[in-house]
């Protein structure tokens, strides 16, 4: 029994060691050390070929160049807006699955909501491109119906990026919402109604406080995924997408300026971490509980 509680001491040690080795190797070689390395990388400057000094130059560049921090702020704001939109769109669906439908029908709708997410994001984005580009399905339809005189370009707008981001992230909002709403006892709602609560007050006083962990979990995960997304903004936003991950890619892969790319990476990480932290603080949740929910 690998419970490391029985057997002689050396055997327990050996077993513990064997179980610890993969975990430590994974977490330290692939997570902790690379992150430390990335931090070190971002705090140095190349002064001559293969010669570096410690400096804050990379971060100075970020703040000195308006393009960089402009893109940074833009990414944060749009991710936030898209997260809220996702929450608003997903909530009624989650409510329907968790509370309105029963048995097989509820399970069916849930599965139907999951299906698109079994397919790669690349494929889903391809679908949006065929639908929205100037020669695509929707502009043709709009022109045909006479809404617009000629087919218009629906790609490469900020709104397009938002739609794409919301679409890719819905699953990660619906799942935690459904699980937290399902655990809400119907009789609580009946009791509130019986005591004279209106739909709105019940939602505010009973449902939302109960679903808070699920809402937090969904928002944190969705926000993080949006911030780190690369595919959807670049394909749906095109040249005007101005997403921060694009800057990281450019510095790292195109310009081979790893120091600058590392600094950008670190700024993105700081933003994502502080938002996660803020979300947890605001809703009074604990990190571990929230992550296990998703």
């Amino acid at each position: 029994m690998p419970d490391a509680t029985s057997g002689p001491a050396w055997e327990r040690r050996l077993l513990l060691g064997l179980l610890l080795a993969p975990a430590l190797l994974w977490l330290f070689a692939l997570i902790v050390l690379p992150q430390i390395d990335l931090a070190l990388l971002s705090f140095r400057e190349r002064v001559a070929p293969r010669e570096y000094v410690a400096s804050l130059a990379q971060y100075r560049t970020f703040f000195a160049e308006p393009l960089y921090w402009h893109v940074f702020v833009r990414t944060a704001v749009m991710s936030l807006a898209a997260t809220l939109a996702t929450l608003l769109i997903a909530f009624p669906v989650a409510w329907t699955i968790a509370k309105l439908l029963r048995g097989r029908l509820s399970a069916l709708l849930f599965v139907v909501c999951l299906i698109p997410f079994w397919v790669s994001e690349t494929v889903r984005t391809l679908g949006w491109m065929i639908l929205l580009r100037e020669s695509g399905v929707l502009p043709a339809l709009l022109a045909h119906l006479g809404v617009t005189a000629a087919p218009v370009e629906l790609l490469y707008h900020d709104a397009t990026i938002l739609v794409g981001l919301v679409y890719t992230s819905l699953l990660f909002m619906v799942v935690p919402l459904v699980s937290s709403l399902e655990s809400l006892d119907n009789s609580l709602i009946e009791a509130a109604y019986d005591l004279g609560g209106s739909g709105w007050s019940i939602l505010r006083e009973i449902v939302i406080p109960h679903a808070a962990p699920g809402i937090t979990a969904g928002c944190i995960v969705v926000f993080m995924l949006m911030l780190g997304n690369y595919l959807t903004p670049t394909l749906l936003g095109g040249k005007s997408s101005q997403w921060f991950t694009e800057q990281i890619y450019t510095q790292f892969i195109v310009r081979f300026n790893w120091e600058q790319g590392a600094a950008f990476g670190f700024l993105l990480l700081a933003l994502s971490t502080s938002m996660v932290w803020l979300g947890l603080k605001l809703s009074g949740q604990r990190f571990g509980d929230v992550m296990r929910r998703t």
Partner: protein, 286 residues
């Protein structure tokens, strides 16, 4: 609100309409991709020019390269498949070991380790990618300077892609398998001992079979996540692009409906995978 409370007609109608709109929103892109895989035109765009299977079966001689004649695309599917297999095996293996570690073992620093295991889930994929790229390069440089050895696998390429994807998929596998092990009734193991089973036999006949659904489930999730991964892979990829990277490159250039064909192929494959898993689940529930 809930079915047991009176809901006005307008609310019920609105709910239904909303649901329909939501489902259209959900499936419109997928349906579009599928339909245009059969359009007899060189670009996946309206109008409809008639039905064709060229984008599956066509070859260079007919100036339309279909999926099964597109060696580059087929090679990238194969690459994705190999990467996904490696990531799945690693993630489920490490995830299972971690589950036993977290649920059964006692050691100092366990709380910190358990928190650390969740960290990969909140690191943006791009950052995982660049940090592993930079760290691997640093080690490669170091080894090169010190011993004059060139460690090819630490340069951008499939080994790094596998490690990059594994670094966060392992966290998901760990969570799934640990959750099931936590619900395990330890008296089952005692009963097996009591009936004369050895340590190995208990693990083989009781504990692992109990964990099997979680292991299969997390294997499917790991495979799918690896197959679909883009952000981390983009930073670590070398000369052999997996399918998502290949598709991305072609989508930027404006591709022929062969991409729709490969997408449809992916949809069917994932639907089959999903159905098999749900069947299994359903049978167990029944």
């Amino acid at each position: 609100m809930i079915p047991s409370l009176p809901r006005p007609l307008w609310l019920r109608t609105a709910t239904t309409l909303y649901l329909v709109a939501f489902l259209v929103f959900l499936f419109l892109p997928l349906a579009t991709v599928a339909v245009f895989a059969f359009n007899d035109a060189p670009y996946p765009a309206p109008p409809w020019h008639g039905f064709t299977l060229d984008w599956f079966l066509g070859n260079a001689s007919r100036d339309r390269t279909g999926l099964f004649g597109d060696d580059e695309l087929l090679a990238s599917i194969w690459t994705s498949f190999l990467v996904a297999c490696a990531v799945t095996a690693l993630s489920v293996g490490v995830g299972t070991a971690n589950a036993f570690l977290m649920e059964r073992a006692r050691f100092p620093g366990k709380g910190a380790l358990s928190a650390l295991m969740l960290v990969p889930l909140v690191l943006p994929g791009v950052i995982l990618g660049i940090s592993i790229l930079a760290f691997a390069s640093r080690i490669a440089e170091f080894v090169n300077d010190l011993f004059g050895l060139e460690l090819e696998f630490l340069r951008p390429g499939l080994p790094l892609v596998v490690l990059g994807q594994f670094s966060y998929i392992a966290a998901i596998a760990t969570l799934t398998i640990s959750a099931r092990l936590k619900r395990f009734d330890p008296t089952l193991e005692e009963a097996a001992y009591n009936l004369g089973a050895s340590r190995g036999a208990v693990l083989r006949t009781i504990t692992l079979p109990y964990l099997r659904p979680a292991m299969i489930g997390s294997a499917a999730i790991a495979f799918l996540m690896s197959f679909e991964n883009f952000n981390t892979t983009l930073m670590l990829v070398g000369a052999d692009p997996p399918l998502t990277i290949m598709m991305y490159g072609r989508m930027r250039e404006g591709a022929t409906p062969v991409l729709n064909a490969v997408s449809l192929f992916l949809m069917v494959a994932s639907a089959l995978l999903a159905l098999t898993l749900m069947r299994k689940d359903g049978r167990r529930a029944a």
